[in-house]
Symmetry: C2
Subunit: 374 residues, 2 copies
């Protein structure tokens, strides 16, 4: 399948993104513990923000008033926001889904809120990310075929409503009225010369659902493409299914996605998985794994996964990963990193996150290099 | 009193320190939340480590085996460790003081430990800071004259024992056997050409006690000088007394300290205080205030102190301090810093600490510049 891998470039209103790309997660307008200048130094070209979290705190209106997410968090490069659908699904046991949308309770204070395709679009337009996502229902797993089909149909209806609202309101993006010369030039389009997008505004991607049913996935892909988006995501995976099943669904679904549009696999994955899926022809991925694992002292290295809290590292003077050139590996010993973690020092989280992100970004650079070399 | 201020330079085995200097506190081998490369960028020339904390975790033997504190924490510049006496005093309600030393319980797990002048020196030699401190008793406040005098006498006897142990064992410093060409040249001495120190090893400073009694402070200073140290600290202040009293004691004690040796005022203070004491002729100061306040969202600016958690900053697009050139003020808005703090994001602590340290270091640069200009 290596032949399916492809190099690309997303030209967004906030700069270029080389694909395949791994997008670090900056849930509430911060990649936990890592300052924006360090992310720039790491070569991060696009960050992911969570609409659900930003909607609750600091609030969309607050971010919009301050010029949008880029300006608010002082991040001049590209940003993608998810639709909030996945967080409503994963953080809310008491959510209530109707044709109109989802009623849910804030995980912060229990207050009640509603997301509809329209309000999720309004939120994402207000936040002003470069790439925003249609509002979808993430189907639970396991689910029977009838349930999966009904859920897929709902997501399709919501996709059409998302697109309609977006088309009617996309001019309201906080930075729409202040187009820079640069923004005018950097029209979002895929490297495959997709000309369907014009103007320096946001791009709305559609999301393919359909559970673990390959026929429904095909149908979802075809009918989402009929609605028409400048990019397509595969959602509803990494929800507890076996990894082999995830791969089977991705591999099958990808066949039904247009070759000339970006393909985004949501919420994946381990280092092995991101390489595997890039090789299958996925262009974009995101996952909390490198940043969350770092906070728990789990570090990815060329020699495998390391749990830095282990006593075996107490006197280990070597670098975390001898093959890594990041500022953590080139300066500190495993013994010091172990000490920071054992002492609950905040610097442990900072350094561990910088390393894990470096590992993921280097991995994707290597993948892109391999693809370039054929 | 402005005429008493003086410029100086400490030449330590790990580089030069321009004085008057403010030393950031890196309690357990980390300035909480700030990586060593950022401290270098901020122009930090000397850090303070806490012997009490390092002794408990990761342990002196552990640090010694790994080459000493500099190598352990990957900090090539100067380090000073305190003697542990102040932490035993401030963190241990159940300590027991005898002629021999202090028995105390770990604040981490309640285990029982003893510090004597000899063991505190052994710990500081094992940690291998450039400047280490004699083991002293920090006299509580208030205390009657008899108690203050007895405590002062104990500190004097401990000072003599500290010096004796240090002289007998200073060759055991972890980096003693690997003198670099650089280390050979950078003999610790004050800018006033103090020649009493020779060789690339640690320097042991004496500590003046005597409570709030000016006559006892004078006696403590004179008798500590008789024992003979390459530098002198004023200890036992900032223990709950009024600020005017602190100043009175410092101003009085300083008269009895030799002009040709570094003078270190321990545990002070606010921005106003460090300027004031530098102007009185103090060369070195340390305090947790800038770093601890940062963690509580209290930020020092040219426009006064700011509590960034306040709702008034929710929509404040301006920089934290318009007159500050630090990487926080030049990139982020008060609104963003307020959001990070309100959301309990770790980045709040990182950025706030970087700013507050910049504020303190800039202040001392300004003081040195003013002194240079007379």
């Amino acid at each position: 399948m290596r032949g399916a891998a492809r190099l690309g470039r997303l030209l967004t209103p906030h700069g270029e993104v080389e694909t395949p790309v791994f997008m670090p997660v900056g849930t509430v307008a911060s990649v936990k513990g890592v300052s924006q200048d360090i992310l720039e130094d790491l070569g991060v070209q696009i960050l992911l923000g969570n609409t659900y979290h930003l909607y609750l705190r600091p609030g969309v209106e607050q971010v919009r008033k301050l010029g949008g997410l880029h300006k608010f968090m002082a991040w001049p490069r590209a940003i993608l926001t998810d639709s909030g659908g996945f967080q409503v699904f994963s953080l809310n046991e008491l959510r209530k889904v109707t044709e109109d949308g989802v009623t849910f309770r804030s995980h912060l204070n229990g207050s009640s809120h509603v997301f509809t395709p329209e309000s999720a679009m309004a939120a994402q337009i207000g936040l002003g990310a470069d790439i925003i996502m249609a509002f979808d229902e993430c189907t639970e797993h396991p689910a029977d075929r009838t349930r999966v089909q009904q859920s897929m149909e709902l997501t399709l209806r919501w996709a059409a409503r998302s697109k309609k609202y977006f088309e009617d309101h996309k001019h309201e993006v906080p930075w729409a009225n202040v187009p820079s010369a640069e923004a005018e030039q950097q029209v979002p389009r895929s490297a495959r010369n997709d000309k369907s997008l014009e103007g320096a505004t946001q791009s709305l991607f559609g999301i393919v659902q359909g559970g673990m049913d390959l026929a429904l996935r095909k149908e979802s892909a075809e009918r989402t493409i009929e609605i028409g988006f400048p990019g397509y995501a595969i959602g509803g995976l990494s929800v507890g299914e076996a990894r082999t099943l995830t791969r089977e669904v991705v591999e099958s679904t990808i066949q039904h996605l247009p070759a000339d549009k970006p393909r985004y696999l949501m919420g994946v994955g381990t280092p092995e998985e991101i390489v595997e899926y890039a090789n299958l022809g996925i262009d974009m991925m995101d996952c909390v794994l490198p940043t969350r694992a770092a906070r728990h002292g789990l570090l990815f290295t060329s020699e495998g996964k390391i749990s830095i809290k282990q006593a075996r590292y107490i006197t280990d003077e070597g670098p975390l990963d001898p093959k890594c050139g990041c500022k953590v590996c080139s300066r500190y010993s495993r013994a010091y990193l172990r000490h920071l973690y054992a002492s609950n020092e905040v610097l442990a989280q900072v350094l561990n996150t910088v390393h894990n992100l470096t590992y993921y970004l280097d991995l994707m650079r290597t993948v892109r290099h391999s693809i370039a070399l054929g």
